[in-house]
Symmetry: C2
Subunit: 415 residues, 2 copies
């Protein structure tokens, strides 16, 4: 008699983005002529950088000659890619990270879920609220939580609110926690963490022998030179932090798929006999056994991000989306709507007008403006009353969406 | 105090293939001029089919235009690929499988490991012996086993020997098991399963409410028209089997990365309250939450496998490797070595001569012939005294390797 993992039955109906897709599809089916603009899911829209495309075409061609054909690559990724990442993303910023501490993968979403494989069942888990839903749902699946309450909060998790009240910082808990998810620049709020804030977390983690999962998927959008791009810019982070990075948002790889995870060799966690176990060895074993590496073709595309042409092209992409974010911020502000984020991040975090709930604002925006955003409550209870607008779209779509929203919501125009 | 998943500490040192790589690298470093021929890891060597390359280059070019650019795709894979698979690989063979029962992934290795996520902790697990090590190691990692004994057998697993004694069939156990891994054509023995044999397993699984994990990664190598390519050719299999397939071996995608898993919607397993839970829903949720789909470019490459040109090109590839297998079988047989498999599979399963242990034969072959194979004992205790030789190499390398081995091992020439 085969049995199921019953933890899955605790999951609230539908992961956030499929639920949004369901509502949008239903609306589109009922209103086939409505010109819907999607500023919901954080998906890029602009072409893949030419440097990446050139490199991938060359890689495909290499696959056509048995002398340059590539079969299985290293599960951890090719050395030439790991070296470029270590140099450009870490050593050049003063972070002491070696190539073999970098594990290439097909996505940060996968890695932030899979990382739990190597940890014990009794760790106390802390997440921010609002939070990227994958962190929570993968803990539910792994049996690290109890049931959800009406606000969607799961028993057993420690929620760290980040809101306007605390200037969108993740407050250090008074109780002891073991695994902490931090994402800066933050999805969904667009907030950032200063070096001082991260240093406080590193100090906390080291004194509690806790591990920080640092999601830096949006680091390319940092415009403020004083802000850290990597947690390894903080002294001591090598002893307490795993960092997740992605080519999805800086180089437009959401459909091409490449990311990486940094597991320093100095990182340990405890076994029940009190001994310290190197996490690098466990993750290396996990990846060797449960993963077969990223497509050679895609890894060559990612490598090209670090060429001179690639660097220039991704800078242009990031600037383009940040200009969209500026337009969103300024237009909504002019309409009397309170906004946060969008300066060092591609997300603008909107206080819903007229005290609408997040999903009511979602439905209203979809029905009256044909604009799709993401309800803040989908990211956690403390996201209720907020709404995420993504800067990932064409300039024309962003301008058109802002025109529709400001027309509808500017004080005085409101119903 | 963060703790580790201690189940990882039960794993025997080194997954089989990394251990082989370590010994080969050490030998190569000590003997830089030795012309090593690798017939060890089951990795393809011939160029990727032209149809796949053309399709991927076109897909890369689409990524350069915002009108055809692709961001996040469906986590389950694109409909156009799922439809072609359902039609060609299943419906055309009389299997009642729908496109939305097919989940595209980046590898069968990943899927055969990840599938355990959706099952409970107390299932009784059966594996064949010898076996593809990933099935065992992922169960160890998930905490489904006890410690390993000296033969590398883990407590709590049910091992089903497949050997010359039982004509390389997986004997149905007398006890009740819940999850059963079957791989036919078999890795590593090259053995096959008849329809009658699979029907007996389907009957067993249905009467015990067990689930069969059927790994059909090598189905393209079947030359005997009477043998089933899919377990869904057996009546009732929709109610008890998940099938794993891959483009790695038929189309040479080991470095390109694409595979798929079939989870019929009629498949259920039990919750503790006795209710039946649809496994499709759980797997769909798992993939939506912990995976972000396969690269658009790669999926277009996989789709091209089903074009007329693609079908012709993969047939030629498979024939090429099967001819290698024939040469290996015949040469070794002529040298007085007992061989199995290699007719409907790219693997020849060799009885080690002179009663050498598997690893002793490995070392001897490496040192005297500079040929790399895979020790049978690396696949399980019942593989001791056997050795896997892969047909994945160039014709010239296969012929040269056979020349060296027969020169060394032909009765009369032996030391």
């Amino acid at each position: 008699m085969a049995t199921v993992n019953e933890n899955y039955l605790k999951l609230k109906a539908g992961y956030l983005f499929p639920e949004i897709a369901r509502r949008v599809n239903a609306f589109a089916a009922a209103n086939p002529k409505a010109p819907i603009i999607k500023l919901g899911i954080g998906d890029v829209t602009e072409p893949l950088p030419e440097a990446c495309r050139r490199a991938m075409i060359q890689a495909v061609e290499e696959m056509g000659d048995r002398n340059t054909f590539k079969g299985y690559g290293p599960e951890q990724g090719y050395g030439w890619l790991r070296e470029k990442i270590a140099h450009h993303d870490f050593q050049a910023r003063g972070c002491d990270i070696e190539p073999d501490e970098i594990f290439i993968s097909d996505g940060s979403k996968c890695d932030t879920g899979n990382i739990l494989d190597i940890f014990g069942k009794n760790n106390k888990i802390a997440v921010t609220d609002p939070v990227y839903p994958v962190y929570v749902d993968t803990n539910v699946m792994a049996g690290h939580t109890g049931e959800a309450n009406d606000q969607g909060e799961y028993g057993g998790l420690v929620y760290l609110p980040i809101s306007a009240d605390n200037h969108f910082t993740a407050q250090i808990p008074s109780e002891a926690v073991d695994l902490i998810y931090l994402c800066f620049p933050n999805n969904p709020t667009g907030a950032t963490a200063t070096k001082e804030h991260l240093a406080a977390w590193v100090n906390y983690a080291r004194s509690h022998n806790a591990i920080i999962f640092f999601d830096a998927a949006y680091e390319a959008f940092i415009t403020d030179a004083s802000l850290p791009h990597s947690i390894y810019e903080i002294e001591g982070a090598r002893d307490c932090a795993i960092e997740f990075r992605s080519f999805s948002k800086n180089a437009g790889f959401t459909g091409t798929r490449c990311a990486f995870t940094v597991v320093p060799k100095t990182l340990t966690a405890q076994a029940s006999d009190g001994s310290k176990v190197e996490l690098w060895k466990l993750w290396n074993r996990r990846q060797s056994t449960k993963f077969n590496g990223v497509s050679y073709i895609v890894q060559r595309g990612a490598e090209a991000v670090y060429s001179d042409a690639g660097q220039e092209q991704i800078k242009a992409l990031v600037s383009f989306y940040l200009e969209n974010a500026r337009i969103i911020r300024e237009q909504l502000t002019a309409a009397g709507i309170q906004v946060y984020g969008g300066v060092n991040a591609p997300y603008v975090w909107v206080k819903t007008p007229d005290n609408l709930s997040s999903w009511d604002f979602f439905d209203k925006l979809l029905q009256t403006c044909h604009v799709v955003g993401t309800p803040g409550s989908g990211f956690g209870a403390a996201g209720e009353g907020y709404f995420r607008i993504s800067a990932f779209n064409s300039r024309a779509n962003v301008e058109e969406a802002m025109k529709r929203i400001t027309g509808q919501f500017t004080v005085g125009n409101r119903e």
